[in-house]
């Protein structure tokens, strides 16, 4: 479905709005990331659109906000998040869906954002590590559990693990330690701190259950 949508050149682009004017509008509205100025390369300088390409503006639902962004046809969600929306908490470790560092939730399901084209998530809910804590700064139960267990070491894999856990607990709120390990088996930790990670995530399951009851 998503792939077909991506390949379909008939998907309408925002009609009557030139790309540059739209970008100017975004900047003026202050709705884009502060990093916007380096994101949109000047067509006169860059490689420009090839004939028949679908480079265009899309609206994404990220962390509960509608974000309008200029996306190339072949652009991955990880690139869009990191380089166009200023959401660098999502890490890219392997570029190819092997390590799990780039895991985000798409409609509550953990997915590797390095291996998903941004065009395919239009109309879907994307949640990244930056979208977990409450507006008042209160940590998500999974984040709090990681803090309380001093989970992880270098933390480059941490946002991916946390997003996988949040997604996994939505599907299985009461996992055994073995089930939790399976739920996290798409994520690599090269500090290999798996024992402490599992301690933290079992605590996360407990905190999440309490939070649901409250």
């Amino acid at each position: 479905m998503a792939d077909r949508e991506l390949a379909d050149p008939m998907v309408p682009s925002p009609s009557g709005v030139s790309r540059r004017n739209f970008i100017k509008g975004v900047i003026a509205a202050g709705a884009a990331a502060s990093s916007v100025s380096y994101l949109f390369r000047e067509t006169a300088l860059g490689q420009g659109s090839l004939p028949g390409s679908v480079e265009r503006l899309v609206t994404l639902n990220v962390n509960g906000q509608l974000r309008r962004v200029d996306v190339m046809k072949q652009e991955t969600l990880a690139t869009t998040l990191r380089y166009k929306l200023g959401l660098t908490g999502t890490k890219v470790g392997c570029d190819r869906g092997e390590c799990g560092a780039c895991t985000v939730l798409i409609d509550d399901v953990p997915r590797s954002s390095c291996s998903i084209l941004t065009h395919s998530v239009r109309g879907r809910k994307v949640v990244t590590i930056e979208g977990l804590a409450g507006a008042n700064g209160r940590l998500h139960p999974v984040q709090q559990a990681v803090v309380d267990e001093q989970g992880f070491q270098c933390a480059f894999c941490m946002s991916g693990f946390i997003m996988s856990t949040v997604g996994f607990l939505k599907a299985n709120p009461n996992p055994t330690r073995a089930e939790m390990a399976h739920g996290l088996s798409g994520n690599f930790c090269r500090c290999a701190d798996y024992n402490k990670i599992l301690n933290a995530m079992m605590r996360a399951a407990e905190y999440s259950r309490k939070a649901r009851k409250a």
């Binding site: 999502t90 890490k91 390590c99 930056e130 984040q143 480059f156």
Partner: protein, 822 residues
Amino acid sequence: MADYKLIGHDYTTPEMLAKVTGQAKFSEDIRADGMLFCKLLLSPMPHARVLKIDASEALAMNGVAAILTPDDLPEVTVPPAGLTPFALTGWTERALTKEPLYEGEPILAVAAVDEVTAAEAIEKIKVDLEPLPFVIDPLDALRPDGPNGRTQGNVFVGHVGIDSKDIQALKWTAKDFGEVAAGRLPWDAKATVETSVGDVEAGLKQADLVLDETFFIQSTAHQVLEPRSTFAYWQNGKLYLYGSTQSMIRSVGPIARWVGIEPSQLVYISEYSGGGFGSKINSYPYVAIPALLSKKTNRPVMLRISREAENYIGRMRPGFQARIKMGFRKDGRVTAIDSFIIEDPGPYELTGQAEQAAQVASNSYQPLATRFRGIYVATNTPPKGAQRAPGLPQSVSMFEPLISKAARKLGLDQVEIRKINAPSSDSKFGVREPLQNLTSAYVREALDRGAELFKWQERKQRVSQRSGPKVRGIGVSVGSFTAGSVGYDGLLLVKPDGKLYIHQGIGNFGALAVMDTARVAAEFLGMPWKQCEVVWGSSGKHVPWSSNSGGSQTAHAHSRANYATALDLKRKLQEIAAQQMGGSPEAYEVDNGYVYRKDNTGSSLAFAKAAELAIKLGGKYDGHEVPQQVNALTKASVAALAGQGLIGVAKDEFPRKGATQGFVAGFAEVELDLETGVYRIVDYTAVADAGTVLHPRNLGGQILGGSVEGFGHITTRNMIYERQSGRLVSRRMYQIRPPSILDVPLEMNWDAVNIPDPQTPVGIKGVGEPPVGAAAGAVLCAISDALSRVDKDIIYRTPVRLDRVLAALGSGKIHDLLAAYA
């Protein structure tokens, strides 16, 4: 144990909130207006000469800003003494090369407005390469007519750091290779290094049992999760460089040299690094690429290293082909170790891990005599380097199975034979004279505690019962490694806001010593932790000269430096209090942010007030005077902070006799299916001798994280090359296979003997490395124990793949025992 408020207690490290919320900035997370992106052109051949580069088509593309070739790099110069720990040789690699020595070595780089454009530009560059002879397997380079990995020869001569600049040609005889064909390393073949302690021949003669075996230990890629990306820009003649390294301040000198500037022209920022495991100790030459492209274009430049490039340039542990003779008395005591080890350091530099492997064996098993012979063969595989306990997993993969085999032959318990040979605090070790003294060793205590936690005796009974096709095996192993250095500086500042600022020059790459050792300063100043700020992550924040963040040095080195500096600051607080309130400085004590009179007269002075007074007093109190003995970089940092408050600054000059070594005893149980050869690790326990426990949860993470690394060495991690083309076959993470969460026991146990090292003020030793060896050895011995249920021999080749288990269960012969990268 001393009654500490902070040391030995769990706490939440101060960078934790930034990490869990995704706000922590790693080098690839930095953005700036007008930034450019680069891509590298990697060599498609394992050895070649660049004849011509035609970039005209690429440079004509819209959006392409600049190209960087080897001609743009500064000449390699010898840095000022003390700024780099590594020997510089004529062969030392640079960021880009005209003679790629391995597939994937960077030849040139392009900067463009975005990564897609840079990648397209790379495709349009025509590079004319002349293929040169190459070699992948070190033994092939030693064949009478074998190719040389370098045009100058095939072996690195001498000892690392002493005289490693020579490459020579060395060939074995056809007769030697008759032995190789039979699966044995030829004992009488030529070596380039030989060292010995005691009479090894006599030691082997007096032994009741001599084992003589050939081993193959594989090379393993580091595969750090965060690729070594770098971001750079220039401002007012200074280079601002964001990198991913282990050491922070210790990277400044090497980076300045690679870029061709003075250290004072560099502001180096590395707040968060995604793991290093030895591959990022002092940064790496590739940082020069964005730095020089930024200079060329006058724009900020990001070099994002892809996983593909990381596979090539991200370093690897060297593999060994080795033959070991080991003599035992009837009671299990090791009489002699005689090692002959071929190491493959890759094409650039002697790495010295073969000798390191022999040295750790001399420590862990205390042989009465020992000899080491070795050859460091240049190959056209990616450069090897330090990887979490360099030499140790290779060492235990040979010696621990031999000890297990000896114990079985001699009818001894596996724990007992290791205790008989274990070092104690008055032991010495080494493969060269003079031997080194240990500062402390509590290996027997660790083995006893581990055996108790693991229920060794009970388990021994249980696993000996066999039912059905599955057998169980248990193994124990000792891992030892360096655990601390001395002589570094600390820098503390109390500002008029009453807070204690603890400046740290070590890196923040996951080991967390950067936070944990700051607690030592707070502890001895009686300062509540919530009133402390750790200052780290940038040379622009004025940090002290520090140890390398590697070699398990920091916990020891900077607990000492911060203790020394806390004493200096405390003395200054006492002096200021005495000046203000009378009496002698000794009449005052510090606690809870106050300096107060011990006789309970009620006189006290808040640290905040003392900071104000220090600024008025000037001189040594506010940093306008600095002790002579601290490093020049520390002096520069103090000068920059002078006048901001009360400054404590000191060099660790506490005495230490001998070498600080850490130890871990590992205990593993495996289950092995005799029909399929499939095995899994079902339980694991590790006990560390790491001196005083500083931060329990972090210590547990280091011990068990290091253990999982050790598992991977035995079970899954491997590198394979295509021999005809010299190209890497295992180029993805799933092919190299670091252990996943499903490859390890669901719950693992750890403990520490928690006995202070008597030769360091707080008693703390490092622990990052020994667990890797202890776990590798324990798992390998447990597999061998399982195989012994059906009277099969130990394993002689790592990793222990399924086909090798089946071979061991069948004929016992591995047909390709000595073939590298197979």
